[in-house]
Symmetry: C2
Subunit: 248 residues, 2 copies
DNA sequence: ACCAACCGTTGACGCAGGTCAAGGCGCGCG
DNA sequence: CGCGCGCCTTGACCTGCGTCAACGGTTGGT
């Protein structure tokens, strides 16, 4: 909890990496200027807690770079991750005074925060923001429901494969790296975080990772770097509909 | 699939039971009139399918009375319920052409449907609708995340208790029936539907119901009627924070 | 009246994944 | 350099829940 929670300056929205994907995606330049007036950047080190569930939260924010997680904890310590926040994702709920989940930086993290009160006022006055937020929330709801299927019905191996597939796909689309079939990436999560995400124990995660490696579905370089030789092979292991990426 | 899918007339919004909770909650009377022009009622029998995942869907809708479910199915038949739709809940996603989930009526069901195209146009022009939909979607997202904790981390007994608690609470608040401690209600779901909701098998559901009964947490009258003598006792079994209903 | 379909319960058994425990690797720090 | 610590792996064992199977009650159709 050392105070490495820097408040940074005021980079302009023009060259913001998430300009066209975040809540502000549809804003016109005058609207951006308004947002600019109520925004500030904060950055966090990997492992730092952004906010605890139940704490007063007087901002909402977009993830600019890095990855954060939303987790819920039961009294006896059982933990379940309920959201993985990637760049452009939105944190916080307009109209709610406190945080509903623990928010933690799993990598170094930069967030673009908006003071809540003025943000709420802007939302009421600026349909572009509310529209975009609705769209993003609907996407998150879909993702949450897909995750419910995973948590409720998939086997440990399918869970791991699904998580790897999600990360692989994101990296593939992001970096346009994959030469049809060969994808490599670094896992942004520890085994324990993976376990919390998947509703497993870290031992089971470790065993299943070893299993997928033994069966040639993935290769490992060190603990974190994953090489997927054949993405289709990995997708088969997820238990999902095999149509994978339609040819559209 | 017999054709008991009646299209009903055009009851007025004025005396609609969900008038103040559904997407239209914030609409002024002129806006209601517009909605009225694009709406139609449909009713379904218990057990009927409203729409299959992947089917073209040219309406969105509110549940007026009855209960519907959203479920996802894997190729091999594993099923997970991902949403329970109660009166006032919204079905369908503006901007998406097909249904993402199977929608099924678990009780007799009446829905207020809006033709999708004009509804989308209205949404763009009527902030009241988009605002309300955002609010409802955020609530659903919260519910989905709570459900993720249940699916990922709770034991079978805790899952059953949580489901009963949700239904008990809803009925208690709805009917203001409970004289501090005594709640009774009919389960709107079969054992199999409960299993699909909770990520269990129907046998496990049955056993845990018997277990809760044996331990005096609930009483059963027939298969479906549940009597909760001591709600706090039930809440203890859910594994959730014990603060239950705060004294505010 | 009978039968079939549906829903629910219960028992016996097996296994996937949790639990407990030991140990390995890499890294920063005294 | 050696030590401790965080992260990961692996093994042995245990158990909660799934699977398979039998059976009872209720309802509706012929």
């Amino acid at each position: 909890m050392s105070h490495h929670d820097l408040k940074l300056g005021h980079p302009s929205c023009g060259d913001c990496p998430i300009r066209h994907k975040a809540v502000c995606a549809r804003c016109e330049s005058d609207e951006l200027a308004q947002l600019d007036a109520i925004k500030y950047y904060r950055s966090f080190q990997a492992g730092q807690t952004v906010i605890w569930s139940g704490d007063r939260m007087d901002f909402v924010a977009s993830v600019v770079t890095g990855i954060a997680t939303l987790t819920q904890t039961m009294e006896d310590g059982r933990r379940q991750m309920v959201g993985l926040l990637l760049p452009a994702d939105f944190v916080g709920r307009p109209g709610r005074p406190t945080a509903a989940y623990d928010v933690t930086a799993t990598t170094d993290l930069v967030m673009c925060c908006f003071r809540k009160k003025p943000f709420e006022e802007m939302m009421a006055a600026t349909p572009h923001i509310a529209q975009r937020l609705l769209e993003m929330t609907l996407d998150e709801l879909d993702a949450a429901r897909e995750w419910m299927l995973l948590l409720g019905r998939k086997t440990a191996r399918e869970k791991i494969a699904s998580l790897l597939a999600i990360i692989a796909r994101r990296d593939a689309s992001l970096k346009a790296s994959a030469s049809k079939g060969g994808v490599k990436f670094d896992l942004p999560l520890t085994r324990e975080e993976m376990a919390d995400y998947l509703g497993l124990t870290l031992e089971t995660v470790s065993r299943q990772m070893s299993g997928l490696k033994r069966d040639g579905v993935i290769e490992l370089e060190g603990k974190r770097h994953v090489i997927v030789g054949n993405l289709d092979r990995l997708l088969e292991e997820t238990g999902d509909d095999s149509d994978g990426g339609a040819l559209v």
